[in-house]
């Protein structure tokens, strides 16, 4: 099971590993802050408080969507690497190559948007990228798609290296996932949860990335060689890729909770059969659930749409009944006061994941989707589990790491002050979207009718608070990461060992 030593020796980073890891995290907080500023600009424009012309609005929306999704996955990949390397051998070159390709891909996207005028959004829904109606050139669209390809190849390289490491230690994916214990046998409580989660995402997200690679190449062929594509088939592949990719961010990010939470509660968090069943379900559901993006495409075989609704509902079981339940059980009567920032962020992330997931379940119900599809309900629910869920998981690891660098648990007065600004701002921001969804305010729209602007204004106010908090976090974490370790090695806080059978 995960160690309860706060800062175990095997997690210490030095030399090139520390450099690459720092690049990931500093890159992430910087990009998060920039993408949030773009997002706030759009919300204020919708509110009528800024006058962003529609062509620029859609460029910004393209950058925000692609930038946030890419950065979330990049950062949660760092989480996966940070913990998985303790259990299996990972090559630094693969980790570094992923970051390099991410940067190159991001550069392609930035150039295509800000110089090429690309405004076809992250979804690049065929045939829109080649029908910009003068707003962008086919070359700009192609550069955007190339950027995606580079980022996907980088992630795939990292996964292949991780897969090789896992198979070397555990023999095969079956054992790595713990499926040999699903129906019987004594579960090894020390089997790392990080290995289970990592293996699950290596399988699922590799499939999604392959689907993405296929459709990206198809779209490039269309742009350069006028090859006609089937719009429904390309849409299916696009959403398989996109849905899987952003979900991988959550399922990689949660590794931080499995590894870190017991260190702050001083209660063990062992593996058990329920956990393994939860992740087995997740591995299957997450691959086939993307039909919920296509509920209004009636040409899709209806059995697939029904599968989309059903697996959307069942996906909630592992999240709530296994992971959130396990996290809450771990903090129950754990003598945790005073709470530290990593623990606050981890529990917040679990709440947001469950709450946002519940809103997602509502939207993925066909009867509701009929009136809520493509309204602001959609960004309402996914911002809940991304802004307060995945981001909080990432920040939790970052705070934990800077605590190690500074040799004391991170919990400044400023941290305690900015946490409610982050939480409160996000709740106001999210309410703006969810109420907008209830009021049938469309998503992805540059100009809003006056009747729609009240919730835009509410959302903008919340967004200002969120951006302020993020700017603080970015500076705090960057400064903390760049602090050098002093010799001798930092004192580690020994957890209270010996408590057994905490639920996981």
């Amino acid at each position: 099971m995960a160690t309860m030593t706060l800062y175990p020796r095997e997690e210490r980073l030095a030399g090139s590993e520390r450099l690459v890891f720092n690049l990931y995290l500093i890159g992430a907080v910087t990009l998060f802050a920039l993408m949030m500023l773009i997002g706030l600009t759009m919300r204020m424009s919708q509110a009528g408080w800024l006058g962003v012309p529609p062509d620029w609005f859609y460029r910004l929306l393209s950058m925000h969507g692609a930038g946030m999704v890419g950065t979330m996955v990049m950062a949660s990949t760092a989480i996966m690497w940070f913990f998985l390397r303790k259990y299996v051998h990972l090559h630094l070159w693969a980790f570094a190559a992923n970051f390099t390709l991410f940067l190159l891909g991001a550069l392609c996207i930035i150039i295509s948007v800000f110089l090429g005028g690309y405004g076809g959004l992250w979804t690049f829904l065929y045939p829109l990228p080649s029908m910009g109606m003068g707003m962008w050139s086919p070359g700009a669209a192609a550069l955007f798609l190339l950027g995606y390809l580079l980022i996907g190849v980088g992630e795939l390289l990292f996964y292949l290296d991780a897969a090789a490491g896992i198979i070397k230690v555990h023999g095969n994916f079956w054992h790595a996932l713990g499926w040999n214990w699903l129906f019987g046998g004594t579960v090894n409580p020390d089997h790392p949860k990080a290995v289970v989660a990592s293996t699950s995402m290596i399988i699922a997200n590799s499939l999604g990335i392959l689907a993405g690679a296929i459709v990206l190449v198809m779209c490039l062929l269309h742009i350069f060689f006028a090859v006609d594509l089937d719009p429904l088939f390309t849409k299916v592949l696009i959403f398989w890729f996109g849905h899987m990719y952003i979900n991988a961010a959550i399922y990689m990010g949660v590794i931080a909770i499995y590894e870190l939470l017991p260190r702050y509660t001083h209660k063990p968090y062992p593996l058990n059969r329920v956990f393994l069943w939860g992740w087995a379900g997740t591995t299957v559901f997450v691959v086939v659930v993307f039909g919920h993006h296509l509920l209004m495409d009636y040409a899709v075989p209806h059995w697939f749409l029904v599968l989309g609704q059903i697996t959307s509902w069942t996906s909630g079981f592992p999240v709530f009944v296994v992971t959130a339940w396990g996290g809450l059980s771990n903090i129950y009567q754990a003598n945790m006061r005073p709470w530290k920032m990593p623990a606050r962020l981890m529990i917040l992330s679990l709440f947001a994941w469950v709450a946002g997931g519940f809103c997602a379940v509502v939207d993925s119900t066909m009867r509701f989707n009929l009136v809520m599809h493509n309204t602001q309900w959609v960004p309402g629910h996914f911002h809940t589990y991304l802004l307060l869920g995945v981001l909080a998981m990432i920040l939790a690891l970052m705070y934990h790491v800077i605590g190690e660098r500074r040799q004391h648990l991170p919990d400044h007065g400023a941290d305690r002050m900015m946490f409610p600004v982050y939480l409160g701002g996000a709740l106001i921001f999210l309410f703006g979207f969810l109420e907008g969804g209830r009021a049938s305010v469309p998503r992805r729209m540059a100009t809003h009718l006056p009747a729609w602007q009240f919730t835009d204004k509410v959302g903008s106010i919340g967004g200002v608070l969120v951006v302020l908090a993020m700017l603080y976090f970015a500076i705090r974490i960057t400064a903390g990461l760049l602090t050098s370790e002093s010799d001798p090695p930092p004192a580690t806080e020994d957890g209270r060992v010996g408590l057994s059978d905490a639920t996981g």
């Binding site: 012309p53 529609p54 062509d55 859609y58 405004g119 979804t123 829904l125 045939p127 829109l128 029908m131 109606m133 003068g134 707003m135 089937d230 719009p231 429904l232 849409k235 209660k267 329920v274 509920l295 495409d297 040409a299 209806h302 029904v306 609704q309 509902w313 909630g316 079981f317 709530f320 009944v321 809450l328 059980s329 903090i331 129950y332 009567q333 754990a334 003598n335 709440f351 709450a355 519940f358 809103c359 509502v362 119900t365 066909m366 009929l370 009136v371 599809h373 969810l434 109420e435 209830r438 009021a439 049938s440 469309p442 992805r444 729209m445 100009t447 408590l499 059978d501 905490a502 639920t503």
Partner: protein
């Protein structure tokens, strides 16, 4: 209570329950439990976890049956037997909706497709809430069934991002109280007889196209209702030298065949304008042009339908 209200209430209620659970557990986190108590807590947690799973399983099964036993999506590959059929085509950035008047009380089959990129045909009731929607995909015709119970003017808004003109891609149709039972032809005939004819209805008697309405439905997405266009992207029509030119040849040609990369009054515009020769007839194009020539302080000489017809016959060469 609307469907949206039900969904919102369920979501908020769920979030409140979840938040309550978290707050309860967090409030206990500062307490200390010895080893014996910890063991009892673990056991109780396992029991509650099993109960939670059971309750959620029941909710899942009943909820799935309740929402799926009668699929809200109509079959796509068999006749739907609707008395009223409306053909919808989405374009960048306007809707073609024929007929644009519907009766209450009987099923309407919307056959929705797109001529170019993905759009989303979303029907907004007069109260501003969506009542139904379906994607408009090029190469596919999606069939949406809906029965209107309240008369009024319903707005169609594109909800699938389709380019810079996405937001103003709006149209409307009228729903009137049922006037007669009968076949589709009889129904459409009855609607036509009951109302003043408009340019987008299948005409059973001569109709005078409403230029302002046609402009709003077909042109305002780019040139804006105010005629001011979008700087650098779509040219303004207000004060436009082509619109005010006594010779309407260039203006007629633009509406018929479209334009791209054009320099207008010294400014180059990036946006591409589609041609409307296959979408609007001569009388409709005439009405639009005359609206543009007289609105926003413009003072262009009115054109005749015969001039548009002659330009159409002359083809694309200027």
């Amino acid at each position: 209570m609307t469907v949206q209200d039900v969904a919102f209430s369920i979501a908020i209620a769920g979030i409140v329950v979840i938040a309550f659970g978290f707050i309860l557990i967090i409030s206990q986190s500062g307490k200390h439990a010895d080893e014996g108590r910890n063991r009892r807590n673990v056991h109780r947690s396992h029991v509650l976890q099993a109960w939670a799973f059971g309750v959620l399983l029941v909710v899942f099964v009943t909820g799935s049956w309740a929402t799926l036993h009668k699929l809200p999506i109509p079959p796509q590959h068999q006749p739907l037997g609707a008395k009223q059929v409306v053909d919808v085509v989405g374009h960048q950035w306007f809707w073609q909706i024929k007929p644009n008047t519907i009766q209450t009380g009987s099923k309407v089959e919307f056959r929705v497709t797109s001529a170019d990129v993905n759009h989303d045909f979303a029907i907004y009731a007069p109260d501003g809430l969506i009542v139904a929607q379906v994607q408009a995909m090029p190469g596919y015709t999606n069939k949406l069934l809906y029965t209107f119970s309240e008369p009024g003017t319903y707005t169609v808004q594109c909800l699938e991002y389709c380019g810079v003109g996405h937001a103003p891609m709006r149209s409307d149709f009228r729903v009137v109280n049922a006037v007669a039972q009968g076949t589709r032809a009889d129904t459409n005939m009855a609607i036509s007889d009951a109302l003043p004819a408009t340019a987008t209805q299948p005409a059973t008697k001569p109709a005078v196209p409403d230029g302002a309405q046609l402009f709003s439905a077909n042109c305002a997405a780019c040139h804006q209702a105010t005629g001011t266009g979008l700087p650098g992207v779509f040219p303004p029509l207000k004060g436009n030298s082509v619109v005010n030119d006594p010779d309407p040849t260039r203006q007629i040609h633009a509406v018929l065949h479209g334009l791209s990369g054009e320099v207008v009054d010294g400014t180059k515009y990036a946006g591409a304008m589609p041609g409307f020769k296959d979408i609007l007839d001569d009388s409709q194009i005439t009405a639009i042009i005359n609206h543009e020539r007289s609105a926003w302080g413009n003072h262009g000489k009115p054109v005749m339908a015969a001039q548009v017809a002659a330009a159409r016959a002359a083809g694309k060469q200027l």
